[in-house]
């Protein structure tokens, strides 16, 4: 082989070094972290009750259900898709696990009681099935995930409505009750479950072949296909993962709230998407990860919790959350551009 053009080309060796380009390429990781520190600092100064060990525990518990749902959503967004059915699937799975559990006599639901383990397995099967429908719609039929999961949002809400018919169920299997509302050594089980699932998600994304495929498909879907990856299989898998994470979040959430009813997870759709995106995972796919999602969760958690500690009009809070989300989206899009510039 003759020596190539490249040996002579100086452009090849010009790797951007120095602090500025590095910071620019890491913008998506740095910005959310900075936001978290600034917010925490602000609330710590503004309210004496914010920076206490008790309150840190509160924040952890408050973000747990969102965290569990966000694990699966991170996979989906890394693939440059979206799942709008997460909250609905969480809701229907929570309702299903209660539906299969013996309720008190005053609960007026025509339910089908079974042993706890069977109720849990059936509920998990239900959310996996709904995720599979999402997956088939997206990959086999070719419906964009935005629309497919919008339809699923309604379908899952419909199933929820059919199961409870406007009533409220209270009992769930003992295991779910423990994991959702119990604690061990002062640490709520739900925080432990969220931590374990986030860790699991991180390990899968970082150290497994499947995780690599998720990043590659998100980074450049066409190249992934030309590398001989089964892109549809991977996209289908992340939709199922997302639905199952939502289902687990839904079951524990029902135990945590102490009741299963229609529309009780509605705020979790926005919160979960916000957590993933505020954390810096790229909406264009291929960049970010569970680490980002954790930071995003804390940003939201600190914001929600902190606003309760300072004296602010509760209606204004909604607006503030919206503005913070908008700021995060702007940073997200800019971070992508800066990184592209740093590479090209």
């Amino acid at each position: 082989m003759t020596s190539s053009d490249s040996a002579a080309s100086p452009a090849d060796h010009k790797r951007p070094r120095g602090l500025a380009p590095f910071l620019r390429s890491q913008m998506r990781n740095i910005a959310p972290f900075l936001t978290l520190i600034l917010l925490s600092g602000f609330f710590a100064i503004a309210s004496p009750s914010f920076a206490t060990l008790d309150n840190v525990g509160n924040i952890l518990t408050q973000v747990s259900v969102t965290g569990i749902i966000a694990v699966g959503l991170t996979f989906v967004i890394l693939c440059a898709e979206i799942d709008l059915s997460i909250a609905s699937i969480a809701n229907v799975t929570g309702i299903a696990v209660a539906y299969f559990t013996v309720q008190e006599s005053y609960v007026n639901i025509a339910n089908v009681p079974m042993p706890g383990w069977a109720a849990i397995l059936l509920a998990l099967a239900l959310c996996a099935l709904l995720g599979l429908v999402n997956a088939l719609g997206l990959t086999v039929i070719g419906i964009p995930s935005f629309i497919m999961t919008l339809a699923m949002m309604q379908i899952a809400a419909g199933v929820s409505a059919m199961l409870v018919r406007g009533q409220i169920a209270y009992k769930v299997p003992p295991l779910i009750t423990t994991l959702g509302s119990g604690s061990i050594g002062g640490i709520p089980w739900i925080v432990i479950v969220a931590a374990v699932m986030l860790l699991g998600g991180h390990l899968v994304l970082t150290y497994t072949r499947f995780g690599r495929y998720v990043y590659m498909v998100g980074g450049n879907r066409e190249a992934a296909e030309f590398a001989g990856l089964n892109v549809k299989l991977i996209l289908g898998a992340v939709m199922v993962i997302s639905a199952v994470c939502s289902g687990i979040g839904g079951m524990l959430g029902v135990a945590h709230f102490g009741s299963a009813q229609q529309n009780e997870f509605d705020t979790y759709l926005l919160d979960s998407i916000a957590a993933v995106v505020v954390g810096g995972t790229s909406l264009f796919g291929g960049r970010g990860g569970i680490g980002n999602t954790i930071v995003g969760l804390f940003v939201l958690g600190v914001l929600n919790n902190g606003l309760d500690h300072v004296n602010i009009d509760s209606f204004l809070k909604i607006l503030i959350r919206g503005l913070i989300l908008l700021a995060a989206l702007i940073i997200n899009v800019y971070a992508q551009r800066l990184r592209e510039k740093a590479v090209d």
């Binding site: 082989m1 190539s4 490249s6 990043y215 030309f226 001989g228 291929g286 590479v343």
Partner: protein, 500 residues
């Protein structure tokens, strides 16, 4: 050619550079009223650039531009449009979601006094115009529902009937069937009678000779010759295009090259009667181990579609594929990869992950082999390092983001990802496009090494040089069909161009 009248459009000493590379060098060009002017030349010879200057796409250039004898400068395509210049670009540019009528009247829909679109009038006039052109479709159909060839005809019709007095057609016939080409030519002749001037760019030299009055030949950004069509021949034009006795490299290709006698080992891939819409018709061939099969043809001849079918990205409408004698229907690219087929596509955007490090780009296609569940980054990097050394990829840093490598090195990475566990069949689309001589040589040597290892290789290219420098056997594709096979005989660039 001087016709005793002043030309309506005259360009003098036009030079145009893109980022330091001169696409046009001191070109003169004149167009007369009622003339069909053919332009020929290889890819990158400067034909399209000159036409885009005329159509106002490239407002920056040096030289004089005279319309009706008056010095003019277009600042945009709007200016050119207002001056009566219309152009049909090489790439289809229609609005598939609008109706046929809306596409015909794109930008100048008939409106009433209130500014509302007169739908009925628009549909009626669009229908009349199209039927004059021999197209019989409901003007209210969605354009995207029609076949590509018909869409192209409608786009051409839009420009032909826009009232423009200078019409530029860049490769209008590549997706058209023979009767459609006839209809186009009849319309062009009629417009000529009405005094319209037409510039017609095509790779199909027979087409140019049949329809044009004058032919201009471009080579490497220069105008080589201009003659009356009646006074020249296909052979003479090809000779002018590739420059017999010109630069040494080109010279070697116009000489006859002896293809080796039918050789190769066992048949690895057998394609039988592959068809895909209007892109491919009954394409059959075999690829044998230890042999490079070249597939040559002009842009749009169906090569890209063929490569996609071989790699399971497109499903053929008809025909069968067999790998090592076993019939295969690839449901996905993953299935093709597992069957031992590898593809390096023509666009670097499609073949690589620019924001990921080199080693991940190299390992992506073989991860299945090196890791069951958990990734093995150490092994991955070791494999990548070996490939980087073997292919002399510069800089030899496997952790570097791919986007920081030069184009030639990226191309080598795209090859490298298939080489650790060599496939049975390697399909390369335009493997040396846009590379300088050194990188081209590297790629040629890599491909020859692989052939020596017994791979079956298919090289698809629109550049005759690429096919000639690599192939042991050459198929020529024309409008989706195999029109000629060169095997064990003499072949040259002239002969390839002649066949295509």
């Amino acid at each position: 050619m001087s016709q005793g009248r002043a030309p309506i459009l005259e360009l003098k000493d036009i030079t145009k550079a893109f980022g330091g590379v001169e696409a046009l060098r001191g070109v003169d060009f004149a167009l007369h009223a009622g003339e069909i002017h053919g332009l020929v030349g290889e890819n990158g010879a400067g034909k399209s650039t000159l036409m885009k200057i005329i159509a106002g796409v490239h407002p920056e250039f040096s030289g004089r531009f005279m319309l009706d004898g008056k010095e003019t400068r277009f600042r945009s395509t709007r200016d050119a449009h207002a001056a009566g210049i219309g152009m049909v670009h090489q790439e289809l540019s229609v609005a598939p979601d609008l109706t046929v009528a809306e596409n015909v009247f794109l930008g100048n829909q008939p409106t009433n006094r209130l500014g509302l679109v007169q739908w009925r009038r628009m549909a009626r006039e669009a229908g009349e115009q199209l039927s004059r052109f021999g197209i019989d479709v409901d003007p209210m159909t969605r354009l995207g529902d029609l076949p590509i060839g018909l869409q192209q005809l409608i786009e051409i019709a839009r420009v032909l009937f826009s009232g423009a007095r200078i019409i530029i057609l860049d490769e209008p016939t590549s997706a058209l069937s023979p009767p459609e080409v006839e209809r186009l030519f009849a319309t062009l002749r009629r417009l000529r009678e009405e005094g319209t001037s037409i510039v017609f760019i095509s790779h199909f030299i027979e087409d140019i000779l049949r329809v044009s009055d004058v032919v201009t030949v471009f080579r490497n950004g220069r105008k080589v010759t201009e003659t009356r069509s009646a006074e020249t021949s296909k052979g003479a034009l090809i000779e002018a295009m590739i420059g017999r006795g010109g630069e040494a490299l080109e010279h070697s290709y116009s000489d006859d090259l002896m293809l080796p006698p039918a050789g190769g080992g066992r048949t690895v891939l057998k394609a039988d009667q592959l068809s895909l819409g209007r892109s491919l018709q009954d394409v059959s061939f075999e690829a044998r181990s230890g042999e490079v099969l070249g597939v040559y043809g002009f842009m749009g001849c169906g090569q890209l579609e063929l490569s996609r079918i071989l790699f399971g990205k497109l499903k053929p409408d008809g025909g069968t594929l067999a790998v090592d004698g076993a019939a295969k229907t690839f449901r996905s690219t993953a299935a093709a990869r597992r069957a031992g087929v590898a593809l390096v596509p023509e666009s670097r955007r499609a073949m690589l992950f620019h924001q990921e490090p080199v080693y991940k780009n190299i390992s992506i296609s073989i991860l299945e082999r090196i890791s069951a569940l958990l990734l093995k980054p150490v092994t991955e990097r070791a494999i990548a390092k070996r490939q980087v050394e073997q292919l002399q990829i510069r800089p030899p840093v496997v952790g570097l983001d791919l986007g920081m490598l030069s184009g030639g090195n990226q191309q080598k990475v795209a090859l490298a990802k298939w080489l650790t566990y060599p496939p049975r069949l390697l399909v390369l689309c335009e493997p040396t496009r846009g590379m300088d001589v050194g990188a081209k040589n590297d790629v040629i040597n890599i491909v020859r090494d692989l052939r020596a290892k017994g791979l079956a290789i298919i090289v698809l290219s629109t550049e005759p040089e690429t096919v000639l420098s690599l192939a042991d056997r050459i198929l020529v594709l024309k409008r989706g069909a195999v029109v000629r096979e060169f095997a064990g005989e003499a072949v040259s660039k002239d002969r390839l161009l002649e066949a295509a």
